[in-house]
């Protein structure tokens, strides 16, 4: 080939430069020169031989992708772009995750401070953190929906059983990835969620030696601490993404190998024509699929950015504290079902059941071998699936603190109005409106809608956990009458909601100035024992309180969708 200098002397500097650029572009795209790209963008038909196919043979990234799709599978239905979206979310998480890694040290001494450094010192740090955390939850959701769609369209059937199997591994890894990231901020939320999870591992139906060894591997020491954090960090940034990456490629190889399954109605029952694509039904990767994917990429990035900026905010609670158990330990929503089961059944049973469930999902395509993918032929399968989904949704609800009350009524009310962790109606009251004084539940404060709101929530909580014996002389609120049962340990008072209610309680919210820019919010409860006047069933004194500093900025956080306060 002629050197650049020879070309210059041959056709002049301008032409030579253009020719050189053309050559460079062709090398970069592994086959398409500038005019080919322009033609593709214009939507012209390709020249012969088709240069748009060459990258699929010669370039690494393009060779992973098929050079054309069956037009039937390029519409929103049947894939809903969910598999593609799962892939996108994985890449998204990798990029935002690497950025966060720069500012994070996996040590109990530093991790929590690092999170605050990201929020208060790193430009766009909060946006980055929100993007990563929102992305994690979206990814779990998207992967689950993708699984649902491949089930509904019967795409797990022969020959795609193994694709489904690798998919099951992928969803398990996705959940584990999301959950292992949960621990890293080293706040109360993280610490206790993982502690509960690990106590599950300890209760697995296996000999104690096995369980203890597993626990030791998972937390690196008898108690969750520095070693455990380091391990979960390594799971999160190294081991799990690596395995997920590997299985993603296996998964995707199978997808390309068998082709994406056509909508069930478009082929004969028992046929699999995805790979036999007539010329007229081909949609080429370049330019159509590529353009489409780029458009979706731009749209999803926009959505995630706007979402992380204005609508959704990653939580950060108090520093992890092994000696203070929060009243309610909450698992992330995608694992709340397991918490629900734990409330109902024996721990060992639950921990044994989960792997069993996983295995039955994995072998499902080899057992459910009905030939037809058509919806009308799969009524039994659909019924089972929807029952299962309903079961999971109910389990998830049971996992939330609303279900099954465990602590004493005054703590329960306090938990609703002013929990130590998480958002609450009290945090929605701006500092300026926390005027020192004594307030009753349900009291209306003129010119102070926020405090009035909080006191209304206080009244609501109180009425759920209170009942009356003699018309409630202590507070100007009407309560339902108590059902009294005598037990060995004294009388029990119940209402329709709880069988541990407070009979004719008195309660107030006290706001006092603690420091010049900090108030103390105390919830005070006094319940006299109806059987022994002068004695108190509950006298919470000064024990239930929290502080509010002027600059704490909870109210600013409350505008986000996922923080109801």
């Amino acid at each position: 080939m002629a050197t650049f200098f020879e070309q210059v002397s041959e056709m002049g500097i301008k032409q030579a430069t253009i020719a050189k650029a053309d050559e460079a572009v062709e090398r970069l795209t592994a086959g398409m020169n500038i005019s080919d790209i322009r033609a593709a963008l214009r939507g012209d038909a390709p020249r012969r031989p088709n240069p748009r196919l060459r990258p699929h043979a010669d370039s690494f990234w393009f060779h992973i992708r098929p050079s054309f799709y069956h037009t039937e599978v390029t519409h929103i239905y049947p894939t809903f772009r969910l598999g593609w979206l799962s892939t996108f979310m994985f890449v998204w998480e990798t990029i935002t995750g690497i950025l966060l890694m720069v500012f994070y040290t996996p040590s109990p001494l530093l991790a929590y401070g690092n999170m605050w450094n990201i929020l208060s010192n790193v430009p766009l740090g909060q946006l980055m953190r929100n993007m990563h955390r929102l992305g994690a939850e979206v990814m779990v959701l998207v992967v689950a929906l993708h699984m649902l769609r491949t089930f509904l369209t019967g795409s797990y059937k022969k020959p795609r059983q193994f694709t489904w199997v690798t998919g099951m591994l992928l969803i398990t890894l996705t959940a584990l990835l999301s959950f292992s990231g949960y621990l890293l901020p080293w706040d109360q939320l993280a610490y206790w969620a993982l502690t509960v999870f690990l106590s599950g591992a300890e209760a697995a139906p296996a000999p104690p030696v096995v369980n203890e060894t597993i626990l030791l591997i998972l937390q690196g020491a008898p108690a969750l601490g520095a070693a455990g954090l380091l391990r979960w960090y390594l799971f999160h940034v190294l081991l799990l993404p690596l395995i997920l990456g590997i299985f993603f490629f296996v998964h995707y190889y199978k997808v390309v190998l068998y082709g994406i399954s056509l909508p069930p109605s478009r082929e004969q029952i028992g046929d699999d024509t995805a790979k036999r694509v007539p010329k007229a039904e081909r949609t080429y990767f370049t330019p159509d699929i590529l353009t489409n994917e780029l458009m979706w990429t731009a749209l999803i990035i926009l959505l995630l950015t706007v979402g992380s900026l204005w609508f959704w905010d990653a939580p950060l609670e108090h520093h992890a504290d092994p000696v203070v158990t929060p009243l309610h330990v909450v698992a992330p929503w995608y694992l709340a079902w397991s918490q629900g089961w734990l409330k109902l059944a024996d721990k060992t049973l639950v921990v044994g059941f989960i792997p069993l469930l996983l295995v039955s999902f994995i072998v499902m395509p080899y057992v459910e071998v009905g030939k037809s993918r058509r919806y009308a032929d799969r009524r039994v399968g659909f019924t089972v699936a929807f029952l299962f989904i309903a079961f999971m949704l109910v389990s998830n609800w049971m996992g939330t603190p609303e279900f099954r009350v465990q602590s004493s009524p005054e703590l329960q009310v306090s938990q609703e109005v002013m929990p130590q962790e998480g958002n609450n109606i009290m945090k929605g009251v701006p500092y300026e409106y926390l005027t020192p004084g004594v307030y009753l539940p349900g009291q209306e404060i003129e010119g102070n809608p926020w405090l009035t709101n909080a006191l209304a929530a206080f009244e609501e909580g109180m009425s759920r956990y209170s009942c009356t014996l003699n018309g409630n002389p202590n507070l100007p609120i009407e309560w339902e009458p108590c059902e009294v049962t005598q037990t060995g340990a004294g009388a029990k008072y119940a209402n329709h909601f709880t069988n541990d209610a407070m009979p004719d309680p008195y309660a107030e919210l006290r706001i006092t100035q603690r420091q010049s820019d900090m108030v103390k919010l105390t919830l005070f409860y006094l319940v006299e024992d109806p059987e022994n006047p002068g004695e108190f069933l509950i006298d919470s004194g000064d024990s239930i309180y929290s502080y509010r500093n002027e600059t704490s900025g909870y109210t600013e956080e409350c505008r986000f969708l996922n923080k109801d306060c």
Binding site: L41, G43, L109, Y112, G113, W116, L119, S120, N121, P123, L124, Q126, L127, P287, D288, T291, N292, L294, M295, T297, A298, L299, I301, L302, T305, V306, L309, H318, H319, D321, R514, Q515, S516, D517, M518, K520, S546, Y547, R548, N549, E550, T551, S552, G553, Y554, E556
Partner: protein, 283 residues
């Protein structure tokens, strides 16, 4: 396809605009977050103080109003005032200057709380030194203590009673009565002298400062021309005026470890001085 290119391009441009907006408001947001971090740390620090420190340093850190952690009964405060102009106001604050401490008041408090003060009732709090608190908790409670030093509180040095130059002039003042040793014993406990000097009726009970049981005699030997009473009077008002020779852990250090704010703390009731003098003089 053209539509898709257009949608993609518009979405991309919108993202850039949104990011641009985010970048513009970022400095303000960073400040807000810093405030939130400090505010929340102080809140947590307050709870740590209530649970661990108030029994000795008082509910409001003024070494007043101390309650027994178990029974809730009022007890004499054993600690020094922390909610004190001399500790929390100014950088460096007076207390630090008096002690010749090199560093900031934050570091002084953090260090003192972490490792305690050996030989005194002030325990070490950091887990590494056998205490119950983590480093972040020590930071929080330190921020809480310093938060007492707000602008208003620090605006002017607390006015102090105009202590006369000599003890005779002081005792001759109109509203000062002859000292009552029993009241003096209470003052001695309430001001926490016992934390360093032990009890005068128990030789060797002193941990930091000299034993004061024989100060009625030794006091007269310290400074030429000063009677024991005169000497004690000045020792309390200005510990650095003369450094006693022997402390339980060796020679007393200069500057003195004894807080310099008793002149101020006794200002609310100067009679305390007369009482404590008569107590120490063994009258």
């Amino acid at each position: 396809m053209q539509v898709k290119v257009a949608i993609g391009t518009i979405a991309f441009m919108l993202t850039m605009i949104v990011l641009g907006y985010a970048a513009l408001r970022e400095p303000a947001r960073l400040d807000e977050s810093t405030g939130a971090f400090v505010g929340r740390s102080i809140e947590t620090g307050g709870q740590i103080f209530d649970a661990n420190c108030a029994t000795c340093h008082g509910v409001n850190g003024q070494a007043e109003e101390c309650y027994d952690a178990g029974s809730g009964e009022a007890i004499p405060c054993k600690g020094l005032p922390l909610n004190s102009y001399f500790l929390v106001c100014g950088e460096p604050s007076q207390r630090i200057v008096d002690l010749g401490w090199e560093g900031t008041k934050f570091q002084y408090i953090e260090r003192t709380v972490s490792s305690g003060r050996s030989g005194t009732l002030m325990p070490a709090w950091l887990d590494q030194f056998g205490g119950p608190l983590r480093p972040d908790q020590i930071k929080n409670v330190t921020l809480f203590i310093l938060n007492w030093g707000d602008e208003e509180f620090c605006a002017q040095e607390p006015s102090s009673f105009a202590w006369p130059d000599t003890v005779d002039e002081f005792m001759a003042m109109d509203d000062v009565q002859a000292g009552d040793p029993e009241a003096g014993a209470d003052v001695y406990l309430n001001l926490g002298c016992n934390a360093c000097h032990g009890m005068p009726d128990q030789e060797g009970s002193n941990a930091v400062g000299p034993w004061l049981g024989d100060i009625a005699e030794t006091g007269a030997t310290r400074v030429e021309g000063q009677s024991a009473m005169e000497y004690v009077y000045h020792s309390i008002l200005d510990p650095n005026a003369f450094i006693a020779p022997d402390c339980p852990t060796g020679p007393c250090t200069d500057p003195s470890l004894m807080p310099g704010d008793f002149a101020f703390r006794m200002s609310t009731n100067p009679q305390d001085m007369a009482d404590i003098l008569s107590y120490l003089m063994g009258e």
